[in-house]
């Protein structure tokens, strides 16, 4: 966004510093219920985890209040940590790229290629319906397809393409990525669809009149104007994949691990301080990624526009 656009987007109201005290009070009254939930159930738990990461443990779940960096030293020195982060980043990047490509082109198809608006909305709803089914059920629904005796292997065997069932389909990294893409593409489609649907078609006609090629239109109009949708979708997908342990655990058959699945194992064996330390590190990484995204796109301004 150029400075001029940012200026044009500014709300007519005064900047917060100039707002009269009464307006400040009214604003806080409206958001106070939100704050009253977020403080005890987001800020406090995060602080508890932060505190626990500095505690000592007897190894059996007992915590000794205190201040030691032992857990951080242990987590940072462990070769496993690097491996877990690499695995998590690999899953996140693959899922992000695939959901972005599919999500962008599905949204593009619905907004710019389907001429009947009612049909476009109908097809859009068709994409969102599976979202209402349990994630866990959607994940295990791949078992009858990808399994050793699953449909894909049966079909390939029947066609004579392979002689032995492919084992790589289920309980592998491939299965993990398939499950993520299946679950999360919707988080890309919805925000990108929303921002694309708001692009004024006159703008594109003007570009065509000015001699722009279809590629130019895509590069100079559609992509920049879908930026807020892409950013929002990216935040959803990246934070869900990086915060997930369930898909990795089940779809890899225990063969792969992510940062959070290791955290879950730690909690299971009552290693709270190391679990907390790795949770704090992961949260910092997530905060860094999200603030990087928010730095490029001001979603609040884009959404409220």
């Amino acid at each position: 966004m150029t400075d001029f656009e940012a200026f044009a987007d500014m709300q007519p109201s005064l900047s917060p510093a100039q707002t009269p005290p009464r307006a400040n009070l009214a604003g806080w009254l409206y958001v106070s219920p939100l704050v009253l939930v977020l403080v005890p159930f987001f800020v406090a738990p995060i602080l508890v985890v932060l505190a626990a990461s500095f505690f000592a443990t007897d190894g059996f779940g007992g915590l000794t209040p205190g201040f030691t960096l032992a857990s951080y030293v242990e987590v940072l020195h462990s070769a496993l940590t690097l491996k877990l982060y690499l695995a998590t980043i690999k899953f996140t990047l693959l899922t992000w790229i695939l959901t972005l490509i599919i999500g962008f082109f599905v949204a593009y198809f619905l907004v710019f290629h389907v001429r009947n608006q009612l049909l476009a909305i109908g097809l859009f709803l068709l994409c969102t319906v599976p979202f209402w089914t349990s994630n866990i059920i959607r994940m295990i629904s791949w078992i009858p397809l990808l399994g050793k005796e699953g449909l894909i292997n049966q079909a390939l065997l029947g066609l004579g393409v392979i002689r032995q069932p492919l084992e790589v389909l289920l309980f592998s990294d491939l299965a993990v990525v398939i499950a993520y893409v299946h679950q999360l593409t919707i988080f890309m489609i919805v925000p990108i669809f929303n921002s694309m649907a708001r692009i004024d078609k006159k703008l594109i006609e003007a570009a065509i009149d000015a001699g722009a090629s279809r590629f130019d239109i895509m590069r100079l109009i559609v992509v920049p104007m879908s930026k807020s949708g892409i950013a929002l979708g990216t935040i959803f997908v990246v934070s869900i994949v990086m915060g997930d342990f369930f898909v990795v655990k089940v779809m890899s058959g225990g063969g792969s691990a992510s940062v959070v699945s290791a955290f879950y194992e730690d909690v299971g064996v009552l290693q709270y301080p190391t679990a907390a330390a790795s949770a704090v590190l992961l949260t910092l990484v997530l905060v860094a990624i999200v603030s990087l995204i928010l730095r490029t796109v001001d979603i609040r301004q884009e959404i409220t526009r």
Partner: protein, 300 residues
């Protein structure tokens, strides 16, 4: 080759005169090649989206000899009966009850709080950015970490974790940011002129909210409710450490995926899908009703 070159200028001229034929969004004319490519991509996406789930629904209607993969062995409702009667598949009925109740409570709180926050964020106020970032933080924080933190907090305070206290709060920390973001989009389409007109006619703030804003924004509020319900009904990571001794449905499904290797699991998938569809149907129905009522009362 020369023939092609000779044709070139002509092609260029036609391109310059009638660029509309290759445009993205004309309402007439032939489809560009990208249409067919993207239509194919879309079809593949939809098949991959629904295919596996249909397999599960179909396989859940097998008879007693059935297994987790095709081919299907007979048809019966055996696994549905098994799901609700057998003790070995766990407390499906109880967890189902709890999940529905919890989802309803979460929905009501989410709608009210998101609506108020949406009103608050319409104007800038001192510290609004802090609240906004707190919300984004709550949305992106790993659910399992927040769940553990909430569980430890309750332990430290000497409170018992249960689905209607700690799990309720943990779920709200996830549904509220979603609800408020949806409210932003809904509010951005609200025309402030209507509100000002209400004030000019002597309405109090509460009257303008009750008589103008809520009716106008009703479809958006239903959308927020739908989000709240399904996010809660499906919430797993944040509930894991906070639900206490009694499971919610996703936790029950989770323990089933680890222990139960019968089509009962698939039957549960079919049942939960049916419940979801009833909820979506009711919500969409109410949106349509609201729109229709509005259409007949404010025509012109």
């Amino acid at each position: 080759m020369s023939a092609v070159l000779a044709d070139m200028p002509k092609a260029d001229v036609s391109k310059a005169i009638a660029p509309v034929t290759k445009a993205i969004a004309p309402s007439t004319g032939g489809r560009p090649w990208t249409f067919y490519v993207l239509a194919t991509l879309f079809a593949f996406y939809v098949i991959a989206l629904y295919g596996p789930m249909f397999c599960v629904y179909v396989l859940s209607f097998q008879d007693i000899r059935g297994g987790l993969v095709f081919p299907m062995k007979g048809t019966s409702l055996h696994w549905f009966v098994d799901l609700f009667t057998q003790v070995r598949t766990g407390d499906v009925k109880g967890s189902f009850d709890r999940s529905i109740k919890l989802a309803i409570i979460v929905t009501i709180i989410t709608v009210v709080v998101s609506f108020l926050a949406g009103l608050g964020f319409r104007k800038r106020f001192r510290g609004d950015t802090v609240v906004f970032y707190m919300m984004i933080g709550s949305l992106v924080a790993p659910g399992l970490v927040l769940g553990l933190g909430t569980g430890l907090l309750f332990q430290a305070l000497g409170l018992n974790a249960s689905w209607y206290t700690s799990a309720l709060g943990a779920q709200l920390s996830w549904t509220l940011p979603f609800g408020v973001l949806v409210m932003f989009a809904v509010m951005s389409r609200f025309n402030h002129v209507w509100e000002e007109a209400a004030y000019d006619l002597g309405a109090s703030r509460w009257q303008s909210i009750r008589l103008v804003m809520i009716p106008v924004l009703a479809p958006g509020l239903v959308a927020v409710a739908l989000f709240g319900f399904t996010l809660s009904y499906d919430e797993f990571a944040r509930s894991l450490q906070t639900a206490g001794s009694l499971n919610t449905l996703p936790l029950e499904i989770w323990s089933m995926t680890l222990n139960v290797t019968s089509p009962s699991l698939y039957a549960l998938g079919t049942v939960t899908t049916i419940v979801s569809f009833i909820v979506i149907g009711a919500s969409l129905g109410s949106i349509v009703l609201i729109q229709k009522k509005r259409g007949s009362s404010t025509k012109g």
